[in-house]
């Protein structure tokens, strides 16, 4: 399979991103596409490893060497079939997945000896690019079609939340004939795909066409329904044979310093949905908009959410001297938006306070550099990290706007979870907590938490399942899809006694 010497003959190459000066002026995707020939050449670089680490590294267990080879040989349709056998939404993952597969690619992890080159993935097989091209070929050729079930069951399933996890579960469950209803509190289907990820990374028509496929397959969508508020939990339980919670992890980590309540301090998840609505053409009242033109901005956090803020700020004309601070010892991983604006990225920065301009608005941010130390411990699990301020390293930056992109603690507990009474896991705790206990706890501390479930994704409440970020904590889209698929299989088995839905166990479980 593959071309034996492809990796020796051809260098890694990806389609160029749209020119910076052009792409920052709009909200269209910055990605472009390769010619078939170029892409096949790239696919030929895959070595079809005896032990494909990429396949291990992919949460979904995509059969990467298989479809790389199929692409190399020009069998796009078969490549799509292989890809879709493990991944419901390759057009999403092909765009927004951080591609852990590529980190693990042998050409990166083992073949590349220079650590800088390794970090830049100089030799890697461009797996994600290939995935995206396969998916798009599938759409453009009309190969991706609704596949409504041939036989229907009499089972009804409610899925709460329409993010990638809920959608994946819905598709799986529908395809084996169940009646599936997705409840979405927002006005559009897609969850973070539509209200988190900016258009320049994932245009929303990409989501819409997939939603259309699901709809055509018979999945029922009910938007604008906030279960637990607009629709009683009791009624839902009475109307459905099983419930899947795919609500995501929306409880953001708070900045607990002086001044964090000032005007101009925004949670990323307040800012990003607003931007996506504007791009989508929704009319947003003036007073609800976050105006950024020529504003001095600071982003706290080094993850993808932070980068999404950065890209939006730049497109909105914010002062280009943007600061991005990360607390842990890891410089934010460069993304395409970093090439667009070149922010002041720093790691090991602890925010100490935010200063008022005298009008209840942000003026500046005071911070200090920290050092991380590993505490020595006897146990084999290694030491715990502790943080120490570096004396004399205090500094201040002026700011009009501060965006908090410091991660998420867990799902929203108030409302649905509270009413259902599902038990929750709190990081570091020995036993699970009730929603009430957790809400009380959150007033004092900020632990991470998630909905507790058994190995079959069933929560402490019979017939109620959980998948995605709500279950495993905030994570990347591939995990969300994997969770949705696996939970769907468990629900099917729960309802029918047996299941034909596929499973992709994690590598760690396999050995």
């Amino acid at each position: 399979m593959g071309k034996d010497t492809g990796f020796l003959e051809f260098k890694k190459d990806s389609p160029p991103l749209r020119p910076v000066e052009e792409r920052v002026r709009d909200y269209q995707e910055y990605n472009t596409f390769f010619s078939t020939e170029n892409l096949q050449r790239q696919a030929s670089r895959c070595m079809d490893c005896g032990v494909p680490f990429c396949h291990m590294g992919c949460p979904l267990g995509n059969m990467i060497p298989d479809w790389n080879d199929l692409v190399y040989r020009g069998h796009w349709k078969e490549a799509l079939a292989s890809l879709q056998s493990t991944n419901n939404f390759p057009e999403f993952t092909g765009r927004i997945c951080p591609a852990p597969c590529e980190d693990d690619c042998v050409l990166n992890e083992h073949y590349t000896l220079d650590s800088a080159e390794k970090l830049q993935k100089v030799n890697v097989v461009t797996i994600e690019e290939i995935e995206k091209h396969i998916a798009e070929r599938g759409w453009s050729e009309g190969w991706i079609k609704p596949l409504p079930p041939e036989k229907l069951t009499d089972k009804r399933i409610a899925i709460v939340g329409s993010g990638p996890s809920g959608l994946a579960a819905a598709q799986q469950l529908r395809r084996v004939g169940h009646a599936v209803t997705i409840f979405e509190k927002d006005d559009r289907i897609g969850g973070l795909l539509v209200y988190g990820i900016p258009d320049f990374k994932l245009e929303k028509n990409i989501v819409a066409r997939r939603v259309e496929q699901l709809r055509a397959e018979g999945v029922e969508f009910r938007t604008g329904v906030n279960v637990g508020v607009d629709y009683s939990v009791e009624e839902m339980r009475g109307s459905f044979d099983a419930i899947l919670l795919a609500t995501g992890a929306q409880h953001a980590r708070k900045l607990l310093v002086e001044g964090s309540e000032l005007e101009g301090v925004h949670y990323a998840m307040d800012y990003l949905p607003e931007r996506n609505r504007v791009v989508a053409g929704d009319s947003i009242p003036e007073e609800q908009r976050i105006e950024c033109l020529s504003k001095k901005s600071v982003i706290l956090g080094g993850g993808f959410t932070a980068a999404d803020c950065l890209g939006n700020l730049n497109r909105q004309g914010a002062d280009p001297h943007i600061h991005q601070f990360e607390l842990v010892d890891m410089v934010p991983r460069p993304t395409p938006v970093h090439q667009e604006v070149n922010p002041d990225c720093r790691a090991n920065v602890l925010t100490e306070s935010i200063a008022d301009d005298g009008h209840g608005h942000v003026k500046s941010l005071q911070a200090v550099n920290v050092e991380w130390k590993v505490e020595k411990r006897e146990s084999s699990t290694g030491g715990r990290m502790t943080m120490q301020r570096v004396p004399g390293s205090e500094f201040t930056v002026n700011a009009d706007l501060i965006f908090l992109a410091m991660g998420f603690l867990g799902p929203k507990v108030e409302g649905l979870l509270e009413e259902l009474g599902v038990e929750l896991n709190v990081r570091g705790a020995d036993k699970t907590s009730s929603p009430e206990q957790l809400i009380k706890m959150l007033k004092n501390v900020q632990p991470m938490f998630d909905v507790d479930a058994d190995e079959n994704f069933m929560t402490s409440v019979e017939g109620v399942f959980v998948a995605g970020d709500a279950h495993r904590g905030a994570s990347i889209v591939v995990w969300a899809i994997w969770e949705g698929r696996e939970a769907a299989r468990c629900i099917d088995k729960y309802l029918m006694g047996t299941t034909n839905l596929p499973t992709t166990p994690q590598a760690e479980v396999l050995v």
Partner: protein, 1502 residues
């Protein structure tokens, strides 16, 4: 004491006992009887002593025997003394009988025997006790010695019959007595004839004449003496298996025995002959529990007693390779083809001598894998034996010296008083009946049949579903089938098999996966199916068989198939065929999905009934078809269907009437076809494979130019080649012999299943039954019917070869290898523990037998009391990996690491740069202290051999036992070529067999040669685990190996066919236990070290290996992972991205391994082992070897298949005998002190110490073996590769040199021999010179006589030889640099040659230059027939135009004349211009291209 092997126990099974030996005869052509002949026979026997073996008791031989004509006068007088009178010669018979020692039993036997003789109408004349002298028999032999008596009987004159009839009556009587006394196992009639008598016993040859005083009695005279000395693998006293038998003696192996026995059983009902009143009395024709030779003798005597002439019967049982021989005349071809309808060949290496008391003869098998030399004297004696020179003959008296050639026969008729040569003999037999006419009128061929009316078409709609039902995966399509249909070759892979045994797998596996191929090692050689294809045949015959005793035209009425795979059209032709002789029945092999697991059992029973009915209806063919498999119907595993029907029909005595054809969607891989044929199928139609290709073409998954027809054709080609290879692994050449031969071992099937349907198949690990098999089928079926939108359009991904998450478990998976690398790179104990936990803790996943074990509770001791890790690691070795298969960086890293810790690394097959023999300035020593000697002998020079402390003979390799290897020219870099003594860019081929090991006595010889080459080195013989490896090990121990390695089937490889990686060999746990138990049973365990390897990973693995009997442990895959291997399985592609298994300089830069990584790993393993030892209470490893009582099988296993497995056979303990130890405590006695070389070394002191020239002159005998080798060893140690100046030591010998004359001869030594030499002369020649010519006073023409034996110059690397006479088969095989002049050669000359120049001044045998990739041969083609004898696969034949070259040739021949005094050379030189024109230059195509390129480059440099 009974005549039998120990009971089947543990893993030991007497059915695997082997033997091979020395055979020979002396005959006076004119039938002049004398006592001298008997004496000469005994001398012959004694001089073949080294071909026999000794057991643990040095005075107990494995058996010697002599068959002579009845010495009438001797017995007349002897009987008179005993009180009775004998009639005239020929009018009485003598039964030579072994009787029980127990007087009661003996009396009972005597009475039964007497009553039978009387009942058959013979006169009872009297008994005679055979005088014996108990001082001349070993302790063990004596303990089981029978009483030996002779019974005399006369035929009644009044009845009017001749001696022929009398002989038949004696035969019938003997069979009847055998049947009547079948329960008395220690009663054996060793001969019963009016013409011949046999004396034999568990004796060493030189004990014979003392033990049997009769033999030294001057009155004891005969005109012929046929002798045999035995070298069996066992030392269990089996007086009954000592040869000669009644009519023959055999040196060799019958590989196809199981099939031969079954077919013989199958044709029982057909047998009829007017010569017998009641032919049933003769049953069983084959006496159970006999050796292969004994079974063969049974059938042979049956045929000759039933009217076949001696040679005719032999030609039928052991035919020549006639199928592909264009030179054979049509009459003879027709004879063989016709007889192929009567009986399948008894296939295997065989040198057979046979006699009826009047005629005595010998024949060789089609491959000529045993030596047979003969001398005819002027006074009408013929001496024939495995070796020349065993009986002294005055050179002046020699009329002719010859050798038996492959497939040829030699007969002396003492009545006619002449030698009848092969041509005359066979012509007469072949023209006796109009065989060609019979064939022409009766044979049915597919090509003659009309086109079928209806051929099934591909049903694309249901194809995917059916593929899933039959278990197809994308891997099957991509990895296995694509190379077959695109290139017509079997797919290759690399690294070992790390997936679970089928019975331990979570996945439903095909029934084929439960069977592992058995292969030839040591006691018989594999065949090279590619280079020696002329002996192979896939032609088979199908249909009703008839009475073999009365052959007639109707016997040819069978279907002839060129190969066993039928296209859809061909099957349709057969199904539509309907005439009085041929019509077929089709039976469905499906069962209802609804009926669940019970459905299968019922379906199989029904199937057997239907098959029986088909026979009753008169069908000639039975088609078992699984067409129709789908949603409702599940296929019965085709192998189960075939085997069940085959054995059912044998049992019902109906098998001979019908041919079985399988129409199946299941078979696709080569292993599947082999299994189906091996269990009785005559032909297979793999319709789903064909449909799959069509689909792949439709989907453009195959190259655009590939048509459906071409794809099918390529597939057939790949299957054909692959099947050849699998047969060849076992040394079987023809499908007729392979069919039904059951050359497989079952692993994990229960007794009911094996005995019920696969009867006779070795199976030692009990496991699943028919219910679980049904469950697997049902599971596959259910998975296939799973319909979800995202998976129903594609096949499952597989994961059987490459790791996949949805696929089969792999022991070496990403998590495991990551963890290990972390551990060794950071020297992190924590990470190692994590790793070993991953490997050891197989609670839900089982893969190997050891995963089912746990340790018993011991008496823990303190860790400090356990021997230190630094001592333990010395028992570790790294696996044989050649420089070539891995990069020099990796190779040296491993060597340095192992030398640092006092352990050993292994060079692998591929030489070693002498630069590495010295320590580096920093103290690191990159030498491989184990040097491997494999079949290619690449770089095996005397200098290579002396620079190590262990020499390993690789008999087989775990990943591809029974196969050779090939390093393609593009991988032979300058560096590799240098160490392998070859030319860069020229392909290097390792043949499947060692051409100097065709038998156990040959191995003993090689061990002896190597021990001479390096007396300080331990000799290690590497075997691969398979059923019967225990008995082989016993033989190897007796051949004086110091270490025996038992490799598991899962060992790695740089390149191997996937069929071999997955389907050949068994886990080391089984092989090791079997070897240990068998060695214990033989009291041989203390004489050898046992080593094991095969995916050993952790301290726990080592502990289990020790408890099962190993004291040294080999690791290969794990050390590679430690230095960076990530199981890419790309070794065969040279694209290893971590710089290990590659020669690409760019990729080699990626190598990041360090010796420390390897050292860290081994210390981790040793420390883990120490903890286990402390837990179990062992202070030293020696104490734990073989302590299976400290292991037990886990009882907590719930797995649906694994829970059925029973490993108790592995844990069987053989009690140690007196003075026995369970680990090695004794040194082998290699017998080097008797070597002639000690004299040479003493006399050459001046040369050795001061490089002064010396001349030595000595007589030589055939017992002087490996002469010159120890001398060369001294030279190499002192002077390295360059040795001494030319001719510094000149030795002149007179006589017949023993085997391996001048082996590994160093530069500066000349061995001049006036006389002749045996096999392997000049083996591994390393720069010395050999000159051999006939004695001055001989009168025979030198150039027509055989002068040196077989396999001369094997693996020679430099030096030169001049032979004034003809050489045997395989002259200069794998020569890579020596120059030779010889006056004629046998078959397969210059095979696999890669360098050097060979001048042949006379005729060559067949298949000259097969696989020859380098070097040049010049053949004087006097008769113009050379082209036909040359295998032009890799060479061009040219004329010599270059003047310089002509001159060189002339000079060489002049030199030949000077050295040897050759008359032929004189004649040639006298007519040089004419002679020159007839020289043919044999030029390897690749070699020429490389030479031209080199020439061009050197010109451009200048």
């Amino acid at each position: 004491m009974k005549f039998k092997y120990p009971e089947k126990q543990g893993l030991y099974d007497p059915q695997f006992e082997h033997d091979s030996c020395g055979v020979g005869f002396v005959v006076q052509i004119k039938n002049r009887k004398s006592h001298q002949i008997v004496q000469q026979g005994l001398r012959l026997l004694c001089n073949l002593d080294h071909r026999g073996a000794l057991g643990a008791d040095p005075d107990t031989g494995d058996g010697s025997g002599i068959l002579i004509q009845i010495p009438h006068h001797f017995f007349v007088e002897e009987c008179q003394q005993a009180g009775f009178y004998l009639p005239e010669a020929g009018e009485y018979g003598i039964a030579s009988i072994f009787l029980p020692q127990d007087p009661v039993a003996r009396r009972h036997c005597g009475e039964v025997i007497e009553s039978h003789i009387v009942e058959k109408g013979m006169d009872l004349l009297g008994w005679r006790d055979v005088p014996i002298n108990l001082d001349y028999v070993g302790k063990q032999a004596r303990s089981s010695m029978p009483a030996m008596r002779q019974l005399f009987m006369g035929h009644r004159r009044l009845e009017n019959y001749d001696q022929e009839k009398f002989e038949r009556k004696l035969y019938i009587t003997r069979k009847a007595i055998r049947t009547a006394l079948q329960d008395v196992e220690d009663m054996i009639i060793t001969s019963m004839s009016s013409r011949t008598i046999v004396y034999k016993g568990m004796l060493i040859p030189h004990q014979m004449e003392h033990f049997f005083p009769d033999l030294s009695d001057p009155r004891f005279s005969s005109a012929m003496a046929l002798v045999h000395t035995r070298f069996p693998t066992n030392t269990f006293p089996r007086w009954d298996l000592v040869q000669p038998f009644r009519n023959l003696a055999h040196n060799g192996e019958i590989n196809s025995l199981r099939g031969n026995i079954n077919w013989m059983l199958g044709r029982r009902p057909t047998l009829a002959s007017p010569l017998y009143d009641n032919i049933r009395e003769l049953q069983p024709i084959i006496i159970p529990r006999g050796s292969d030779s004994a079974c063969m003798d049974n059938v042979f005597e049956f045929l000759i007693q039933s009217g076949y002439s001696l040679p005719h019967a032999m030609m039928m049982m052991v035919p020549e390779a006639w199928e592909k021989n264009p030179d054979m005349n049509h009459e003879k071809q027709a004879f063989y083809e016709f007889h192929d309808h009567l009986m399948e060949p008894w296939d295997g290496p065989a040198s057979l001598t046979f006699t009826d008391g009047i005629r005595i003869g010998a024949t060789l098998d089609r491959n000529g894998l045993r030596p047979s030399r003969y001398v005819v004297t002027k006074d009408d004696f013929v001496i024939m034996g495995s070796e020349v020179g065993a009986v002294d003959v005055d050179p002046e008296n020699i009329k002719f010296k010859g050798r038996l050639q492959p497939g040829k026969m030699f007969l002396v008729d003492t009545e006619e008083g002449r030698i009848i040569d092969d041509a005359e003999l066979k012509k007469e037999i072949c023209s006796a009946k109009p065989y060609a006419k019979w064939l022409k009128e009766n044979v049915l061929e597919l090509s003659h049949l009309p086109k079928p009316a209806k051929v099934p078409e591909t049903d694309f709609d249901t194809l995917l579903l059916r593929q899933k039902i039959f278990g197809y995966t994308t891997e099957d399509l991509n990895l296995l089938l694509t190379p077959m249909v695109v290139d017509g070759v079997e797919a290759s892979g690399s690294m070992g098999n790390d997936t679970p045994l089928a019975v331990l797998s979570d996945k439903p596996r095909l029934l084929y996966d439960y069977f592992k191929q058995i292969f030839a090692q040591v006691s018989n050689p594999p065949v090279d199916a590619i280079r020696e294809e002329l002996v192979m045949s896939l032609t088979s015959r199908l249909g009703p068989q008839r009475n073999i005793l009365e052959p007639g035209p109707e016997h040819a009425r069978m279907l002839k198939l060129e190969h066993p795979v039928l296209s859809n059209e061909q099957l349709a032709q057969l199904k539509e065929l309907d005439n009085q002789h041929f019509f077929s029945s089709t039976v469905s092999i499906l069962f209802d999905a609804e009926k669940g697991t019970e459905g299968l059992t019922a379906a199989v029973s029904k199937l057997c009934m239907q098959a029986e009915n088909a026979v009753k209806s008169g069908s000639a063919f039975l088609v078992l078809s699984d067409r129709g498999a789908g949603k409702e119907q599940i296929p019965i595993p085709a192998l189960l269907a075939v085997a069940a029907v085959h054995h059912h029909l044998i049992l019902k005595r109906k098998r001979y009437k019908i041919g079985i054809i399988v129409e199946t969607g299941e078979a696709r891989e080569i292993a599947h076809f082999c299994l189906l044929v091996s269990y009785g199928a005559g032909a297979i139609n793999p319709y789903l494979a064909f449909e799959t290709f069509e689909q792949m073409i439709k989907q453009k998954a195959l190259p655009a130019e590939l048509t459906r027809e071409k794809a099918n054709e390529n597939y057939l080609k790949a299957i054909r080649k692959g099947m050849y290879k699998v047969f060849a692994k076992m040394g079987i050449s023809t499908i007729q012999s392979y069919r039904g031969a059951q050359i497989f071992e079952a692993i994990g099937l229960n007794e009911d299943l094996v005995h019920g349907h696969f009867s006779g198949t070795p199976s030692r690990i009990n496991g699943i039954g028919i219910e679980e098999i049904a469950q697997e089928s049902l599971l596959r079926h259910r998975n296939a019917l799973e319909e979800t939108a995202d998976t129903n359009s594609i096949l499952p991904g597989g994961g059987f070869y490459h790791w996949r998450r949805q696929g089969e478990f792999h022991q070496i998976n990403p998590v495991m290898s990551n963890t290990l690398q972390k551990a060794v790179r950071n020297n992190s104990q924590d990470s190692y523990e994590e790793f070993s936990k991953l490997v050891n803790d197989q609670h839900h996943r089982f893969s190997t037998p050891r995963s089912l074990f746990e340790f018993a509770e011991g008496y823990p001791i303190l860790l400090d009391e356990v021997e230190p890790a630094a001592e333990i690691v010395k028992r570790f070795v790294t696996g044989a990996m050649s420089f070539g298969s891995i990069s020099i960086e990796s190779h040296e890293t491993l060597a340095i690491a192992m030398n640092r810790i006092g352990a050993r690394s292994n060079s692998g097959e591929g030489g070693e740069d002498p630069r590495r023999f010295k320590k580096r300035d920093n103290g690191d020593w990159p030498v491989s202290n184990v040097k491997q000697v494999a079949s290619g002998r690449f770089g095996v020079t005397i200098n290579y051999l002396v620079n190590c402390n262990e020499l390993q003979i690789k008999v087989a390799q775990g990943a591809k036992p029974g196969e050779g290897g090939q390093l393609p020219g593009n991988k032979v870099s300058e560096a590799i070529a240098k160490v392998r003594n070859s030319t860069p860019g020229v392909t290097l081929i390792s043949p499947p067999p060692h051409h100097d090991i065709y038998s156990i006595e040959d191995l003993a010889q090689l061990i002896f040669d190597l021990k001479n080459a390096n007396p300080e080195a331990k000799i290690n013989v590497k075997l691969v685990a398979e059923a019967g490896v225990g008995t082989i090990s016993a033989g190897v121990a007796k051949a004086h190996a110091d270490i025996i390695t038992i490799a598991g089937h899962d060992g790695g490889t740089g390149a191997s066919p996937l069929t071999s990686i997955k389907h050949a060999g068994i886990p080391w746990e089984l092989g090791l236990s079997e070897a240990h138990q068998t060695l214990m049973l033989n009291h041989l365990r203390g004489r050898v070290k046992l080593q094991t390897d095969g995916q050993l990973k952790t301290g726990r693995d080592v502990a289990i290996a020790a408890l099962l009997g190993a004291e040294e442990y080999g690791f290969a895959t794990m050390p590679l992972i430690a230095i960076g291997c990530i199981m890419m399985r790309k070794c065969h592609l040279n694209t290893c991205p971590v710089g290990i298994a590659t020669q690409n300089p760019e990729l080699r830069k990626k190598f990041s391994g360090q010796p420390e990584h390897v050292i860290n790993y081994f210390f981790f393993v040793a420390e883990e082992l120490r903890k286990i030892m402390a837990e179990l209470g062992f202070r030293k490893i020696d104490d734990m070897v073989g302590r299976t009582d400290m292991l037990k099988q886990r009882t907590d296993i719930k797995h649906w298949k694994a829970s059925k497995v029973d490993l108790s056979a592995l844990l069987h303990q053989v009690p140690a005998g007196e003075d026995d130890t369970a680990y090695c405590t004794q040194e082998q006695n290699h017998g080097l002190d008797k070597q002639l070389d000690h004299q040479l070394i003493t006399q050459a002191k001046a040369a050795l110490d001061e490089e002064k020239p010396v001349k030595i002159s000595l007589p030589i005998l055939n017992v002087n073996r490996a002469v010159g080798t120890m001398l060369s060893s001294k030279i190499a140690k002192r002077y390295g590769a360059k040795g001494l100046a030319d001719n510094t030591i000149h030795c002149k010998f007179n006589g017949s040199a023993g085997q391996s004359f001048g082996a590994f001869l160093a530069p500066g030594v000349t061995l001049e021999l006036e006389g002749d030499a045996n096999d392997y002369a000049g083996k591994g020649l390393s720069g010395g010179r050999l000159v051999v010519y006939p004695p001055a006073n001989s009168t025979f023409p030198a150039d027509e006589n055989i002068l040196v034996g077989n396999t001369v110059l094997y693996g020679a690397t430099s030096g030169e030889v001049f032979f004034c006479g003809i050489a045997g088969e395989r002259f200069a095989v794998r020569n890579s640099g020596a120059n030779a002049v010889v006056e004629g050669v046998g078959d397969h000359g210059c095979e696999y040659m890669t360098g050097g120049k060979v001048i042949v001044l006379g005729e060559t045998g067949k298949n000259f230059a097969a696989g020859m990739s380098g070097g040049i041969s010049y053949v004087y083609d006097k008769k113009g027939n050379f082209t036909a004898n040359c295998n032009s696969g890799m060479v061009d034949l040219e004329t010599i135009d270059d003047a310089e070259e002509k001159l060189w040739l002339q000079k060489r021949i002049e030199l030949h004349q000077q050295y040897t005094g050759s008359e032929l050379a004189v004649n040639l030189l006298n007519n040089w211009d004419q002679v020159m024109a007839k020289f043919v230059k044999v030029m390897p195509i690749e070699y020429r291209a490389v030479l031209e390129k080199m020439k061009k480059e050197s010109v451009s440099c200048n």
